[in-house]
Symmetry: C4
Subunit: 195 residues, 4 copies
Amino acid sequence: MHKSRLEAFSDGVLAIIITIMVLEIKVPHGDTVDTLRPLLPVLSSYVLSFIYVGIYWNNHHHLFQAARKVNGRVLWANLHLLFWLSLLPFASGWMGENHFAALPVALYGAILLMAGLAYWLLSRAIIQADGPDSLLAKAIGRDWKGNVSVALYLLAIPLTFLHEWIAEAIYVGVALLWLIPDRRIERALQETGSG
Amino acid sequence: MHKSRLEAFSDGVLAIIITIMVLEIKVPHGDTVDTLRPLLPVLSSYVLSFIYVGIYWNNHHHLFQAARKVNGRVLWANLHLLFWLSLLPFASGWMGENHFAALPVALYGAILLMAGLAYWLLSRAIIQADGPDSLLAKAIGRDWKGNVSVALYLLAIPLTFLHEWIAEAIYVGVALLWLIPDRRIERALQETGSG
Amino acid sequence: MHKSRLEAFSDGVLAIIITIMVLEIKVPHGDTVDTLRPLLPVLSSYVLSFIYVGIYWNNHHHLFQAARKVNGRVLWANLHLLFWLSLLPFASGWMGENHFAALPVALYGAILLMAGLAYWLLSRAIIQADGPDSLLAKAIGRDWKGNVSVALYLLAIPLTFLHEWIAEAIYVGVALLWLIPDRRIERALQETGSG
Amino acid sequence: MHKSRLEAFSDGVLAIIITIMVLEIKVPHGDTVDTLRPLLPVLSSYVLSFIYVGIYWNNHHHLFQAARKVNGRVLWANLHLLFWLSLLPFASGWMGENHFAALPVALYGAILLMAGLAYWLLSRAIIQADGPDSLLAKAIGRDWKGNVSVALYLLAIPLTFLHEWIAEAIYVGVALLWLIPDRRIERALQETGSG
């Protein structure tokens, strides 16, 4: 089984997910600033979700560049990841339409959590297919970001019901963790022993 | 004619089918658990259809890896398969919205049946193009899963009107048949002579 | 400029066009045969349009296989073709929803006509880029199907207002012209001098 | 990191953007010319946006053909460009539905402006990754079109509130600037010192 077609299919699904989310920003009736204002939460929800899908595409790209073999287990682990990401447009739209109310924000976090776990399962499946001395097995030792992200989502979901903005701040924080160039942070964290 | 562009086009269509199905899960008005509850049948219908499209993508991938030649007949047999799969979002949405009522469940089974037959026609068209001593002709001898699936769909459709859940259980069973790693089952069935 | 990226982009657009047309078949409220009946014209309109996009993808595939060079003019001629094909889901939906009334049927024919002309312009642009002794220039001498199709669309549009089914029959006829394996017809027509 | 997967993902997103815009042209109820008439502004808005996405795809194609290296910064600069372009279907639909009223036309210009700036940032990121003596660094010296476009968008946005058609004319003008074959214009501008 060749990894190129798996990559092409995943690219297709991720490209569609990132683009159909914009359909949640419904064209309003009327041409005044007031008609745009209710769209602001939907737009900010879209920006966050766009960044998350971008991060997943970026990580997916790196993961399969390191992968050598693709078997049935890898294929289904990949579809499992795409399944959770495919629910992001729904969760994102629900969160935006309800102005970041507690339950939608918690559901959004739950989808991020499941996608994070699915990504971890996918990386394990690739390592199993490639063998313990594979390139990926060595690289994954440094995957503190994945673990920290999952832990933060687990923290964010109950905190939603204390105040929605705590969870929102955590989601934004996790996104920034992946966005900012990581060499210096990684080095710093490795020195303190958490790398 | 090169098979790579046919694969790329099919990947595109399957990626879109698997993703637009999620648009049937409409973002509800309201932010309570009660607003989510009516979405549960639509969600479970989505999960089943997601798995089916995943299975077809997986099988399509294997089929064309074994294929050597692609001619006009193969191309149209492939489009015929994509046509029936393109109706899955509709059938899935109708089944979910009507809480798995008899007629939508039967229609869903009919679409699965037609897709199964279209897949069989596609594999025959590839064997005809490749010649009787082709790699695929040998591999297809073991395609007991395809035949069993079609037989089960044929059984499920009338049973829908006895009770919907019988048909549902058959659809889930066929999906599991394809999902679980098949080496041991295949061996067992070959020993009993059905392989 | 490489033709592979142009092919990939066109495949993406055609895959989306062929798939979003199915969104016009709206999931009905209710689970009886009566709720499905009004969808029949939309479904038959979808089948016809699916076949047409399939034919265009097939021809596009052959056209670029014969092409050697891709320049700016070819690129824009290709986008021009994709533009008209992108209007097919609209025309198809309008024709289906209005049960093949005269004006929608005429508009559908006009879109097919424009796509046919755009395809002809695209083939000319590729020949110009490749030079008069190119593979495509020789092959295009036999493009009687393209010319006949355009002539038939031109005939169908006014005939719509006599009776819609005349135009419909012509659209189906043109589609069959492209679908049936053409070696014998081509030979026959070449013998009568029209090849 | 290989640029081919970045190109494939961008092709996917651009193909979806260019195609889902057509969904803003809603199928009308009724089969008369009168039911089509209100769709004309939506259609002309679609044509303009289709051409703009086509121009961006064309330029993106050229940009990455000249690129040698792709790093994390290039990847995020690319996603940033795709983000602004993904808002074009919304801006296009809003502009069309409101018959080119001032505010929607200004917003459309603002999206074009942000996409223009994002494209400029992307080209800088590629040059930084490739080094100052790269092929792209030399080619970009002649990118007067990009600069002129951004300047014209900046001019068009306030002029919208004087009269919408001034801004519209500027958008069409910028599109024509990219559409017409540019060798002669480029040469003329280089002679007058603006190249």
